[in-house]
């Protein structure tokens, strides 16, 4: 492990929080405030991106910021795994920023300063989670992320929004308590909290305590990753403004949950300790249940955002399933799906938001003939939906391909079936939307062109194009994913 001598990672850590402070300070002047949002998001992305070549070439770097007490320190670790997530969130942050500014202005929302400041803090939390080098640092940013998202969820300040906010906090803070317990117990057993490829918990000793620790970790981070039956908060949180839903679903919050679960599986316990505890199979069964069941619920949802929410629950569990299969291909697939799902799902959410801004429609059953009115939006929607089903030439095909390969590699045919069945169910609830949008017409309504404002349409077209582009040029993310698989399963990757 190399020590680090340049300051980029620290700047990445601090920039979003600095941005939040700037936004708060210049809140009265709308233009300047929005300018900061954009500048900070682009700056963060560039900083993260500048780290990529070095990491791919030379491997991970670590940096101790501050030591509290033996075993407890603030530590940055830039490895392929964290960098993938940081890259994803910081890039999508730029897109969502443009979109959010357009969205908030079109709807003349209130309290925009608080909104953008919380947004920036939340992104800081997500990137902090990505680049944490030990469980303590991870926990800290995880909490920052949770708390800064709360005002976003309850942004509308209606009774319903406040209720959703309460539910969100109740779930996530309880989850954090579980995490804290596991963290303390882990420290008690091993005397360290630093992540290590392939895990730092030795497969020996008190088996029951280790099992409890793992289960408690999974419950803790699983609330954020919306594993059933801990997913309840996610559909309720849909009352938030659409950019927030996009942030929750594709970029920061739930992805951070998945990221943490994978961190625990691959970097705290590791394949060896987990197999020793006989846990992967049981956990995989629970996750498979979530994969299938959430998709079945999604079919019955008429509210577009809620349908997308359940689709998110489904995809998150697919990613976790890819990780817990503990095969190199599965891990590569999970990493790729983490990224690609982000791009595709954010496209879909931004489409839902654009439709709402333009027409005020929120239900799937109202979308007949909308394709003619908003062709760009719906085209982007189609791309995202096809990607989630897993149809080339959209990136979703690639990640699902690797996931299936992972299932075959581990000779776990049941999970292969789960992946395929889930793709089938995806098709069942996405294709009708596309069909109704383009091939049906609503009587008594003129089908003239009524596209949403450019600040909404351009971002979603960009992410849709990016989803396709990632199918053709997945190299960067593939290299990062391969790096992860190599470090976790030494000798098992060609």
């Amino acid at each position: 492990m190399r020590e680090m001598y340049h300051l980029t990672p620290i700047m990445v850590f601090l920039l979003p929080f600095f941005g939040a402070a700037l936004i708060l300070l210049t809140g009265k002047r709308q233009l300047l405030r929005d300018f900061w949002t954009i500048v900070v998001s682009i700056g963060t992305f560039l900083l993260v991106a500048s780290l990529v070549p070095d990491i791919i070439k030379n491997g991970a770097v670590e940096y101790h910021l501050l030591k509290f007490y033996p075993g407890l320190s603030l530590k940055i670790k830039v490895d392929a795994f964290g960098l993938t997530f940081a890259l994803l969130s910081s890039f999508l942050w730029i897109v969502v920023s443009f979109y959010a500014i357009g969205y908030m202005r079109s709807l003349r929302e209130h309290n925009e300063t608080r909104f953008f400041a919380s947004f920036s803090t939340a992104m800081g939390g997500a990137i902090g989670v990505a680049l944490s080098g030990n469980l303590f640092t991870l926990y800290m940013f995880y909490e920052i992320l949770t708390i800064s998202t709360y005002p976003l969820v309850a942004h509308k300040e209606t009774e319903e929004a406040r209720k959703a906010g309460r539910k969100y906090l109740a779930y996530l803070l309880s989850g954090a308590a579980f995490v804290l317990f596991s963290m303390a117990a882990t420290y008690f057993l091993t005397g360290t909290l630093d992540f290590q490829s392939g895990g730092f918990i030795r497969p020996q000793g008190n088996e029951n305590l280790l099992k409890i620790i793992f289960i408690s970790f999974v419950i803790g981070f699983g609330t954020k990753a919306a594993i059933m039956p801990l997913h309840e908060w996610l559909p309720s949180a849909m009352v938030a403004p659409t950019p927030v839903s996009a942030l929750l679903h594709a970029v920061a919050v739930v992805k951070a949950g998945v990221f943490c679960v994978l961190r625990v599986i691959l970097y705290v316990f590791g394949p060896e300790a987990l197999s020793y505890l006989n846990l992967p199979f049981i956990f995989a069964i629970i996750v498979s249940f979530t994969v299938i069941f959430s998709n079945i619920i999604a079919i019955s949802q008429d509210n577009l955002k809620r349908r997308l929410a359940f689709s998110t629950v489904n995809n998150l569990s697919i990613i976790i399933l890819g990780g817990i299969m503990l095969s190199p291909m599965g891990v590569i697939g999970a990493m790729l799906h983490l990224v690609f799902h982000g791009f595709m799902k954010i496209t879909l959410f931004m489409c839902a938001g654009a439709i709402f801004v333009r027409t005020g429609k929120e239900l799937v059953s109202q979308l007949e003939g909308i394709g003619a009115k908003m062709p760009f939006t719906m085209a982007a929607f189609t791309v995202g939906a096809l990607g989630l089903i897993g149809i080339p030439p959209v990136a979703g095909f690639l990640s699902k391909w690797f996931l299936c390969m992972g299932a075959i590699e581990g000779r776990t045919w049941g999970f292969l079936l789960v992946f395929l069945l889930s793709a089938l169910l995806d098709a069942v609830y996405f294709l009708p939307i596309i069909y109704e949008a383009f091939f049906k017409k609503r009587p008594y309504e003129k089908s003239s062109l009524q596209e949403a404002p450019a600040s909404l349409v351009v971002p979603l077209v960009i992410t849709a194009l990016a989803s396709v582009a990632l199918f053709i040029f997945p190299d960067t993310f593939y290299l990062l994913a391969e790096e992860v698989a190599k470090s976790i399963f030494p000798g098992r990757v060609k």
């Binding site: 709360y150 300040e157 308590a177």
Partner: protein, 457 residues
Amino acid sequence: MAFCTFAALTITFNISATHKSLRYHIGGWPPPWGIEYAIDELNSFLLPALALIGLLVLLHCRQSVKREIPEDKIHVFYALILLQMTGLFGMTVTSDIFNLYVLLEIASFSAYGLIAAGKRGAEFAAFRYMIFGTIGACAYLLGVGYLYILTGSLNMTDLSQILPRIYGSTTLLAGFTFLVLGLGIKMAFFPLHIWLPDAYSTAPSQVSTLLAPLFTKVSAYVLFRLVLNVFHPFYSLSLYPIFSLLGWIAAGGILYAGVMAIAQSDVRRMLCYILVVEIGYIVFGLSAGNRLGLMGAILHILNDMFMMALLFAAWNSINLLIKSSKIADWHGINKRYPLPIFTFILGGLAVIGIPPFCGFFSKWYLLLGLIKANNFIFAAILLVSSLFTAICFFRIIEAVYLTPGNNHSRLPPSPRTPGYLKEGIVLGLLTFTLIILGLASGYLMEFIEKFSALGTL
């Protein structure tokens, strides 16, 4: 007070540089006959904390004193406050258990007087506090009496050398129990806390701002001093299961007070119950009985002083501005007075235990201590009660940030109210301290670890 702070800080730096305790013999009489004041690793960092909080609270409270205390009584009021601080300082530095009793009573009596100056109902609350407090003081004095009969000495160092010879004695056990009981009342340990919510929520607001962070914590410190220094930790923690029993009571208290805190509609009463919860944490540390737990508890004494000081001070500012302490009246006041609200919320996050605020670190070490003692039930209760505190504070966050306000437009905008800037600076300083204490917690832990009695664990 500024002078006190400076002096205390000098002493601390001196101690941290030399790691030798500083001893002063009053009147030139050598111990064990004379009264000795001693400062070592256990109390040297509490002393400047006390002084600093006292100073900041006094700087902060001028406006509210003006409003709540009649003009012709103000000088008496400040005199009582200084007397209070004298008592607390004395309790922290003395190394003589009878002298400690005297100083405890000085602090308590000035507290009764200060509390009785409050709004309607304060006289009764102060009276009840006085009855409880006196019972506590009696119990403590009885304990001192037992010890004196057995050993003929009152000096702590001296006692710690004599006592091990008679550890089998039942009389000693009775004395120890009385001491713990007396301090339990003074530090508002459940179920002996019942005086606290009434007394502190009817007292003049600046009095609760001063007493809530300090008094209970100093009593808790005295308990640590007895447990670790006067008695051998082996006696107080291992020989009899007193503290594992107290741990269960604390567990009940933490849950009870947590629920009560959620049930309050008045912010100050809510804070009072949270204070009782925090005292329960400190006893948890004792019940863990290992080094990490005890160090966590000692760190928590320090952290909690500052957290409570910030919360009560911020509450005081808000209460002064909108003249109401009910959560229902706090709706939407963020628009009007963002600064005190923001610091209040940050203090709340510290109490919940969000890193990098200091509250997290003491909880972390307590948690480690409890896990090391194989006490998973207490560990779970610690976490659950953090959730209770989270409910309390997020209820307030929801009220002040996310609920449309009612008729606050009649209130003057913040910069025009007198003392706003000064109070803002004090609150900002306290918030800053919470972060500093969090970041410096490693240094503090290493400092506490040097305390000799911990080495025997």
